[in-house]
């Protein structure tokens, strides 16, 4: 790179000697203090290296004499946040579910905490906001409950789970009418027609009538005479518009032949009692709380 001075013909200003594709840079001197500011930033970076973690080693890194650590700062921030929550958590622990639900402060605290915990733990199956998933993951925002939608019902479900380990877990099983050959495929087809008729779908009337008898003998004990369901047994309502495993005839036939049973883990031994309460209140406010 040439450093020889050269005058620009038009402006009479000297160039820096740098040239790019025939374009030459005029030399307009920077103030000297500008240069010193640049040196000062270099000096400052050295100070920074000494004060803060900076230089990587093989197994470790230079820690800096201030001993600054982002992880420690995070721990502190978290501890401060926890301390701020402590007062509310104590009140949550002491209060009944109804009290939490009735107190606007506790309720909004529980909903906020419940929403986060729900997203972390529950949304994988039940969807964000309790929107559910096809194939056996119930919508929690609707007004249809398998095991009940009161605060206490929801609390028990979350705490002990469904068909899970604790002795108190909610458990029920529908017999595999088809697989165990308790009903013939024709009978199952008829009963499916009848089940569809319970929620007002248009069906083959003759088949549905045949199915009605089969239903009364085999199904009504759990699902109710008119398909109103039984929450004690977790037997779903069959007379509404909400189908856990689908409402088409094929879906119903499959479910009667070889029923699918969902499992929900018990959260009582994974999450703190306060958090389970907060989740309960949150799920209750999704829209279906009773």
């Amino acid at each position: 790179m040439p450093t020889k001075g050269e005058k620009d013909a038009i402006s009479g200003t000297e160039t820096t000697g740098h040239e790019w594709d025939g374009i030459k840079e005029l030399n307009t001197p920077l103030p000297r203090w500008w240069l010193y500011v640049f040196y000062a930033t270099i000096a400052w970076s050295v100070v920074w290296w000494i004060l803060y973690p900076a230089i990587p080693g093989i197994t470790d890194y230079s820690r800096g004499i201030l001993g600054y650590d982002q992880r420690a700062e995070l721990r502190e921030t978290m501890a401060t946040a926890r301390a701020a929550q402590a007062e509310f958590l104590e009140r949550i622990a002491a209060a009944s579910l109804e009290e939490i639900h009735a107190d606007p402060d506790l309720r909004s605290f529980a909903i906020a905490g419940g929403r986060t915990a729900f997203a972390d733990n529950c949304a994988t199956c039940h969807g964000l906001g309790g929107s559910g998933q096809a194939g056996g993951y119930p919508v929690l925002a609707d007004d249809d409950w398998l095991w009940g939608g009161t605060l206490d019902d929801i609390h028990e479900t979350i705490r002990y789970g469904i068909r899970h380990e604790p002795a108190e877990t909610r458990v029920s099983e529908m017999p595999a009418f088809g697989a165990l050959e308790m009903l013939t495929p024709d009978q199952i087809s008829d009963v499916a027609e009848h089940v569809q008729s319970l929620s007002g779908m248009s069906v083959d009337a003759a088949a549905a009538e045949r199915g009605a008898t089969i239903y009364a003998e085999n199904c009504a004990m759990c699902h109710g005479e008119n398909g109103q369901g039984d929450r004690q047994l977790g037997a779903p309502r069959l007379d509404d518009q909400i189908w856990l495993y689908g409402g088409e005839k094929d879906d119903i036939v499959r479910q009667v032949t070889r029923p699918a049973h969902g499992v929900m883990p018990a959260w009582g031994d994974r999450l703190s009692p306060e958090l389970v309460k907060m989740l309960t209140v949150y799920v209750h406010t999704l829209g279906g709380g009773e």
């Binding site: 020889k4 001075g5 920077l30 103030p31 500008w34 969807g127 906001g129 309502r237 518009q241």
Partner: protein
């Protein structure tokens, strides 16, 4: 960096046989980095100087005094007339209270300020730079202090050239001490716009103010001291974008600080009783250069460095009086008039030009919009957020339910009750979480000066579903004050 060592001396290189043997770094005429030429502006008196003093007093007075103005807003509210309350997220200006989401008023104000600056510049050149810019005002104040302690131009040049002595050290130390005190007060006043002034002053001196307060006092003390004491005109020439922009705003009809070349040239020294025939009126006394705060020679014409303060006008008028010539060899004049005057024609002033008309129209337009929106400003606002997870919920009877989060902003300092009404398909009913269910109208409470949030569920029977998206409108009314806020939302449903 190779030119650095020679920046002061500027060796002149010509076609010199010795050139070949010189180090390569010497072959450059202009250094890459320039030392700052020391500027010793001389004291001057005159019309421009007096206007400048008056404005300096007025502007500094406003700056230091405004935080102490009180304005009663009732109990629980700050009583400072002008206050930006960061922790509570409110800005107060006398009777106006601005919430964070209304920060567009600030944007509007800045746009107005920019347009006013454009207008002033296209009319009178860089009067902002010369008279009102904080950099100019504080630099002027610092120069005044400097003159008080070290003396005028000549004395300061001699002082700087003199070897270090007790007297010199004393003068320098007292100057910097005085500068620092002014800087401290500047920084101190700044934070009063963000804190209750009497409280924060007490806390400052008893050591109880927050770290933030001390940090910002320190920061503004340092910047004031450095910018007004040390950097001065370099802020204008190197840091400020305005000198570069102004070129686009000036035209041949802008009034600028102008040396009347046609009258002044050819310049030359003047001896008493000499004849003025055949020469210009400029006697080359260089008083215009001596008083210039940016150290330029106005006789070189319009320059980037000229801040348009007009102190050279005062200096030149003084000299013209002494030599018995008419004043205004340097004056505020337009480029166009200079050509007219040179040709011996009368000057024409055109203040009303398309450019200035556009600026005035824009200013009036934006100011009216802002005033109108301020006057029509509601003390209540409503935000509605449609729940997206799930977008809608199918209920056991086949009905469809949508969720909404509504936020009511109560900008009054009293608790209020609002009636929320739902306007949508006739069969639509809403339930408020923790409140009444299946209604079309509900009363919601909102605390004073706050935002309250409610969860709302709206349900619609299956038969009433007409489309995947149906409009619904939420409206809140404060019957007592007759105030209303509406928000249009949608109701989502599966395909009917």
């Amino acid at each position: 960096m190779d030119g650095g060592a020679f920046s002061g001396s500027r060796p002149v290189v010509g076609p010199d046989p010795a050139e070949a043997v010189r180090p390569r770094t010497v072959q450059r005429e202009t250094p890459l980095y320039a030392d700052r030429p020391r500027i010793y502006p001389k004291a001057v008196d005159g019309t421009m100087r007096r206007i400048k003093w008056a404005l300096l007093g007025l502007l500094l007075g406003i700056y230091y005094f405004v935080p102490w103005l009180r304005w009663d807003r009732g109990p629980g509210a700050p009583d400072q007339a002008v206050l930006i309350d960061m922790p509570s997220r409110r800005a107060y200006f006398f009777w106006i209270e601005i919430w964070p989401q209304e920060v567009y008023y600030l944007a509007g104000l800045l746009i107005l300020a920019a347009l006013a600056l454009f207008l002033a510049t296209s009319l009178f050149g860089r009067v902002w730079c010369g008279y009102a810019c904080p950099q100019t005002v504080w630099t002027d104040l610092f120069m005044w202090v400097e003159r008080r302690i070290e003396g005028d131009r000549g004395a300061r040049i001699r002082l700087d050239a003199a070897p270090l002595s007790v007297a010199k050290a004393f003068k320098k130390v007292s100057k910097h001490a005085a500068w620092l005190v002014i800087a401290l007060f500047t920084g101190g006043a700044w934070i009063m716009y963000f804190n209750d002034a009497p409280t924060v002053v007490g806390e400052l001196f008893t050591g109880q103010a927050s770290t933030t307060v001390y940090f910002f006092v320190g920061l503004f003390t340092a910047t004031t001291y450095l910018l007004a004491g040390w950097a001065r005109e370099q802020v204008c020439t190197y840091m400020c974008p305005w000198p570069r922009i102004q070129g686009a705003l000036l035209d041949e009809n802008s009034l600028l600080v102008t040396y009347q070349t046609w009258r002044g040239e050819p310049r030359g020294k003047y001896r008493k009783n000499e004849n003025w025939e055949g020469r210009g009126h400029c006697i080359d006394c260089r008083q215009c250069v001596a008083v210039c705060p940016t150290g330029i020679d106005i006789r070189d014409g319009l320059q980037l460095e000229c801040i348009g303060c007009g102190l050279c006008i005062d200096a030149c008028n003084e000299v013209m009086d002494k030599v018995g010539l008419p004043r205004s060899l340097i004056t505020f004049d337009t480029e166009y008039n200079q050509t007219l005057r040179a040709a011996g024609k009368p000057p024409v002033y055109r203040l009303v030009r398309p450019r200035t008309i556009i600026y005035v129209v824009l200013i009036v337009l934006i100011a009216s919009v802002m005033l109108w929106s301020l006057a029509a400003r509601s003390t209540v606002d409503l935000n509605v957020l449609h729940e997206r997870n799930p977008l809608f919920v199918t209920l056991s009877d086949g009905g469809i339910r949508n969720g909404y989060t509504i936020k009511i902003l109560n900008k009054l300092r009293e608790a209020r009750d609002f009636t929320l009404t739902l306007d949508g398909p006739p069969a639509a009913r809403m339930s408020i979480v923790g409140g009444p269910e299946d209604v079309t109208e509900a009363t919601l409470a909102a605390g004073p000066d706050s935002v309250v949030t409610y969860q709302i569920h709206v349900r619609l029977p299956r038969e009433a579903i007409a489309a995947e998206t149906m409009p619904v409108t939420f409206e809140i009314t404060d019957a007592a004050r007759g105030e209303t806020a509406r928000h249009e939302a949608v109701f989502r449903a599966p395909e009917p």
